[in-house]
Amino acid sequence: MQSLSNRKKVIEQKPMNIWERMYLPAIAKGLSITLRHFFKKIPTIKYPEEIRPYSKNFRGQHSLKRDEQGRERCTACGLCALSCPAEAITMTAAERQKGEENLYREEKYAAVYEINMLRCIFCGLCEEACPKEAIYLDGPHVTAEYLRRDFIYGKDKLVEPKFDITKLNKENA
């Protein structure tokens, strides 16, 4: 059949001549290419130690924010889950009990909040939908895991650690 592009080359296979059968010239040629690359500029970087500048609107792992008093901002309204095109977010709401006012900002909070990082496409719609400014995709890259179920991030991984200003002053002193 005639080729459609007319650029097909028919390769002829011939027995090797004496020059090719000697092997050594070919090895020398290959090694010289390798040697030349030792003196060239390296295009790659050593990633975890060295990080390329990120774009300002880079979207990485989600974090659930706390307010200025260290209370969780999320009120489990479900708008992030509704806006999520990949349906990666699930949550279960619970009512704040008496004495938990320092933990949660509103009378309702997310008892369970899970994001399936295998489903997430990092589009940032959850961030945009959130009426409480509780979720931001400001983390690093999501790390690799061995098991699928380890990609379901719960509140232990998502809620940002409490910011303690007294500790910060000690460290600086």
Binding site: T75, C77, G78, A81, A94, E106, K108, P131
Partner: protein
Amino acid sequence: MAEEVVKFKVTIDGIPVEVEPGTTILNAARQIGGDIVPPAMCYYSKLEGTGGKCRTCLVKVSKGSEKDPRPMPKLVASCRTTVMDGMEVQNITSPDVVEARKGVVEMLLINHPLDCPVCDQAGECKLQDLGYEHGDEGTRYEFERRTFERIDIGDKIQLHMNRCILCYRCVFVANQLTDEREHGVLNRGDHSEISTFIHKALNHDFVGNVIDVCPVGALTDKTFRFKNRVWFTKPVDAHRDCPTCAGKVTLWYKGDEVLRVTGRKDEYGEVEEFICNTCRFETKHTSDWTLEEPTPVDHESVIGANHYLNFNPPSVIHEDKKLQLANEEQLARTERLK
């Protein structure tokens, strides 16, 4: 000779309709349907005497009647004004009405807290829809909103007085469905609030209907409190043989679980038939009900976000026993390595 039925011809936003004498403008508009129906927060067609309180249904009457073609001097509440022959009404075609409605919405929202993310009514709330359609983004009100403590009315109903817009629908339900009225409006003017006398529990078979008639989240189902958001649940029409009521309800499913039972609501958010407390609070298993069909949901409604057409949608993946076994084996192997 049979008496000839007199019909009044009314024109609403240029659309003519013939209605019986005594019909209100609002009901005439509902006979036409569509966008020209004025919104109503306090009027409830199944309850007598409702209407005239919230003023969201204001319309402009540009021609009083055929005999007296003068326009009415002010905007009128369409739920309380009956039609006259040859009347011409302007609703969304009149900039005055749109502007007035915007003011009414702002007025209703003066004391309404913006706690939609917490409120269980969000997603099926009439005030939310109204604010979205007609209201401004901000408020000009600079004073503190009035606040109340939550009140438990009995063990099944919760009253958030903060959210109440004083439409009086629940009072009419209590008046008309129950023998003995146990709750009402206390105080006057800006201080008025819905309350029971000394937190008296409401005890009547039909009192759960105050939840359904409440246009906002002031009266909510305590058994559904914070269980799930309305738009994640799937409404399904169902019925059962109930000795006290008609037993025709909407079940709100999340997975296989019935989270909530409400009366069947029409396009204006009004229940078709009031249901009893046993149907609403006690029977929350699929086995208690005969399922009919998924409730049709307006395609613009957020409840239609998880759309579906049949009860048991076909599975996405073919069930493969061999693959499942292999996966389990693989998981066990990786677990051992940990």
